[in-house]
């Protein structure tokens, strides 16, 4: 019995190590999004600031390609990414915001403090829309074409090189698509 007790740690460790090994094979930043090539799942989210209009999935099929950025006020990486988003806004790139698993008031305060790069912002307090979108963590950014189909998913903060090498060329291509 005592022996069995002493075996417990090594057994527990083997389970954890197996999980790590399984996790290693997958690059967390290259989660294959099952949504790629499909339409955005339907959602209709309330705004973070009272009086705003919120965010619906139809807002992203309005005839021009756009980015859907998932963020949260409690997310550090989002703060790192934020200046990049503000820059995109300045360049005229439409970015829609999804405030994930966050209280609306916290989301509103976050935008007030850091600036608001979004055309529209929806608050997904329960994370329900996040589940449909397959959100793994924040920040995540979806590139959506003019018909509202997801074409690419970027995980983690958008670094300048991600923008220049991947997302901007894709957006340019999508703009050229008829």
């Amino acid at each position: 019995m005592r022996r069995l007790l002493f075996l417990m740690p090594v057994i527990a460790f083997m389970l954890v190590a197996a999980a790590f090994l399984a996790g290693l094979g997958r690059d967390p930043s290259k989660l294959p999004s099952t949504l790629i090539g499909k339409s955005l799942p339907a959602f209709n989210l309330p705004p973070v600031r009272a009086g705003d209009v919120g965010l619906k999935s139809q807002d992203l099929s309005s005839g021009q390609p756009a980015l859907l950025n998932v963020f949260a006020s409690w997310c550090v990486s989002c703060r790192v990414e934020h200046p990049m988003l503000l820059e995109l806004k300045a360049e005229g790139v439409p970015v829609q915001g999804l405030d994930w698993k966050d209280e609306a008031a916290d989301g509103a305060r976050y935008l007030a403090q850091n600036g608001d790069p979004y055309t529209l912002v929806g608050n997904d307090r329960t994370g329900r829309a996040g589940i449909d979108l397959g959100v793994a963590g924040v920040p995540e950014t979806f590139v959506v074409d003019r018909k509202g189909q997801v074409r690419y998913k970027h995980i983690g903060p958008i670094a300048p090189e991600d923008w220049v090498r991947t997302i901007k060329p894709l957006l340019d291509r999508l703009r050229a698509e008829s």
């Binding site: 690059d27 967390p28 698993k101 589940i131 924040v138 300048p160």
Partner: protein, 662 residues
């Protein structure tokens, strides 16, 4: 040339580590003093060569040798010398080199100061250290060679991430690593004890100072990291539950547990196998911390280069090290002597409870940190948990633990009585209760957590001081007696009081910061004033201020309050080489709170977006952490902890000793 010298030194160090591991373990097995001596010399030579490799890399940085690929990636000729040197450990490869350097230092310390140890025990400790060193030198050499050359040689280097160009960077990693790697000593001693099949008070007396050293450095390192985040990330957060912070917090929690359980082992000869297990787990979590940052299993702001080949190597190292350590534990621990008996209400039980809470808290942090990985492994939807989750789940384990901190030292060894215990803690309990009630009246019943936080902080501070009051028999003994008792108070007791009271100060800081923080965001023009938390803040001037390798916009503020006026400057720096910017917040320090101002980019019309915070008691968080570390340091200087102090082996009680061992 320096890079080639470094490269060669690294290879020699790797070979020496292998010699160290093999010679000592073989020598200890055959009881061959010559082989054991060879192993000892190998550990000293290994330190020499790792040190040489490290100096070579530092020299390459200092001399702007951009033919070394690592230097070209992380340093720039315009960077000040101190940050070029700091960049030595600012990259993945460089920080791993620092890691093995510190490991070699610890190994050499065993070889030099371990003369009073049983010779085979010393040899086996060195053997395990050698194996760990070889594994990580191999990792460095095969997957992250810091000395790779670059051709053609670029005229100038890229830049060290500007956010890392800060005094914090120069000190934070070495301090934290000294803590992380210090736990390797506990690990090596645990494995050596399992091989020897012998654990006694002498063993505990040897391990405890090392654990204490590791714990002190971890405490200071974590506090520095938190402080650094506070002033560089530009919004005044001090803890984010980020995976990398958690990676340092988990070993800290276990080191704290280990510190207490090894005390019981030393004093009472109990909790033997438990202490061994904690030692293995604590260092394993240190290694997991390393794995976490580098493997890319989790995404984090701190992440260095993500390379899954490195992840596989480190995972393999952890699997082999921890796996074989725990297997050895399963095989040998049941044969270890079981400890002395103690009753349900005793100081030993207090420590057992302390350990259980700390272990569960570690489990909570571990689960939260790796939740996405586990879900992914089971092919479920990946979900990450944020700070709200940690706050909800961690707090219920932290609060009873904090209550226990005061009760533990009030308990007698072996057995105690509830009534006697109550008489000892009634003063701090009364004070804490009063503080709770006053705070509740002050903040209102809606903020019950704030009131509880205040009560808990007072409980910790008052309860820790009560240890001294009891020892000095204040209220019973005469003045002369008290003076004698004060003078004869061992430094270890002072250490205990400081560490526990520091935790109370920290609790008050966290409570103040989470409950009473206020902020304002507005666009300001020079001359404009605004009030925040009773202070009047005026934007005086906005100027450009060039730095050595950046351009800055500096805004001067005047903050006036009842206590006087002060000028504060907040800067926004743009680094042209890497096209990044950082915010240097203006922080007005105060004993009861900080004023924290950060600015955004100036608008074309000369106005400026200004964010300002009032952070009540925030400095108490780091102050508390430093008091805790100071307590550790004071404790370390106690004679009783000094290595090689006379061997007092406590005798286990003959009967029913089994029941007591945990």
């Amino acid at each position: 040339m320096t890079a080639e010298i470094g490269q060669l030194a690294l290879i020699l160090a790797l070979l020496l580590a292998l010699v160290q591991g093999a010679a000592t373990l073989w020598g200890a097995w055959r009881v061959d003093p010559v082989m054991m001596a060879v192993g000892r010399s190998a550990s000293l030579l290994q330190l020499l060569f790792v040190g040489l490799a490290f100096c070579s890399l530092a020299t390459a940085y200092a001399l702007n040798d951009f033919s070394v690929s690592l230097v070209a990636q992380h340093s720039n000729s315009t960077q000040p010398l101190v940050y070029r040197l700091g960049a030595t450990w600012g990259s993945h490869e460089g920080s791993m080199l620092l890691w093995v350097l510190i490991l070699a230092l610890y190994g050499a310390a065993v070889a030099i100061f371990g003369g009073t140890l049983r010779q085979t025990l010393q040899a086996r400790v060195l053997g395990v250290q050698g194996i760990v060193a070889a594994a990580f030198l191999g990792f460095l050499f095969f997957t992250s060679n810091p000395f790779t050359r670059l051709f053609p040689v670029p005229p100038d280097g890229a830049e060290l991430n500007p956010i890392l160009q800060d005094p914090g960077l120069v000190f934070h990693p070495p301090v934290l690593y000294t803590g992380y790697v210090g736990l390797s000593m506990a690990f090596s001693f645990a494995i050596a004890a399992l091989i020897e099949g012998r654990v006694d008070a002498g063993w505990a007396r040897w391990v405890r100072p090392w654990v204490l050293v590791a714990w002190i450095f971890l405490t200071v390192g974590i506090a520095m990291g938190s402080l650094w985040a506070y002033y560089t990330l530009g919004w005044g957060g001090w803890w984010y539950w980020d995976p990398v912070e958690n990676a340092s917090f988990m070993p800290w929690l276990l080191a704290t547990a280990l510190l207490h359980s090894s005390l019981v082992l030393e004093r009472r000869g109990a909790l033997i196998s438990w202490t061994i297990l904690l030692a293995i787990l604590a260092f394993s979590l240190s290694m997991v911390g390393t794995f976490l940052v580098r493997s890319g299993v989790l995404t984090s702001v701190h992440a260095f280069a993500v390379d899954s080949r490195r992840g596989v190597y480190i995972l393999a190292v952890i699997a082999v090290m921890t796996g074989s350590a725990l297997s050895l534990f399963a095989w040998r621990a049941s044969t270890l002597r079981t400890g002395a008996l103690f009753m349900i209400l005793s100081r030993e039980s207090g420590v057992v409870l302390n350990n259980l809470f700390l272990l569960v808290a570690t489990g909570v942090v571990f689960t939260g940190t790796f939740y996405p990985v586990f879900l992914d492994a089971m092919n479920l939807e990946k979900v990450s948990v944020g700070p709200p989750w940690f706050k909800i789940v961690f707090t219920p384990f932290a609060v009873p633990l904090l209550l226990l901190v005061v009760i533990g030292p009030m308990l007698n060894w072996r057995r105690d009585e509830l009534g006697a215990l109550w008489r000892r803690v009634r003063w701090p309990a009364g004070l804490a209760g009063a503080a709770l009630v006053i705070a509740a009246l002050f903040v209102g019943l809606g903020h019950v957590f704030t009131a509880c936080g205040v009560g808990l902080g007072v409980w910790l501070v008052a309860g820790s001081l009560m240890v001294l009051a009891r020892r000095w028999r204040i209220g019973e003994a005469g003045l002369a007696d008290i003076r004698r008792l004060v003078r004869s108070t061992p430094l270890a007791v002072w250490g205990l009081v400081l560490a526990h009271a520091g935790l109370g100060v920290l609790t008050l800081g966290v409570t103040g910061m989470t409950s009473w923080q206020t902020n304002k965001v507005l666009t300001m023009v020079p001359g404009q004033s605004v009030t925040l938390a009773g202070k009047t803040i005026t934007l005086d001037t906005v100027q450009s201020a060039p730095g050595p390798n950046y351009e800055a916009t500096a805004a001067r503020f005047n903050v006036s309050s009842r206590f006087g006026e002060r000028a504060l400057t907040s800067e926004r720096r743009v680094f042209p080489v890497s096209q990044t910017h950082t915010t240097v917040a203006a922080i007005g320090l105060g004993l009861f709170g900080n004023t924290y101002i950060s600015i955004g980019d100036p608008n074309p019309d000369g106005s400026l977006v200004v964010r300002m915070w009032d952070h009540p008691l925030v400095d108490w968080i780091w102050g508390g952490g430093l008091i805790m570390a100071l307590g550790g340091a004071v404790s370390l200087t106690d004679r009783g902890l000094r290595v090689g102090a006379a061997n007092r082996v406590p005798q286990p009680l003959p009967a029913a000793a089994q029941a007591a061992s945990a």
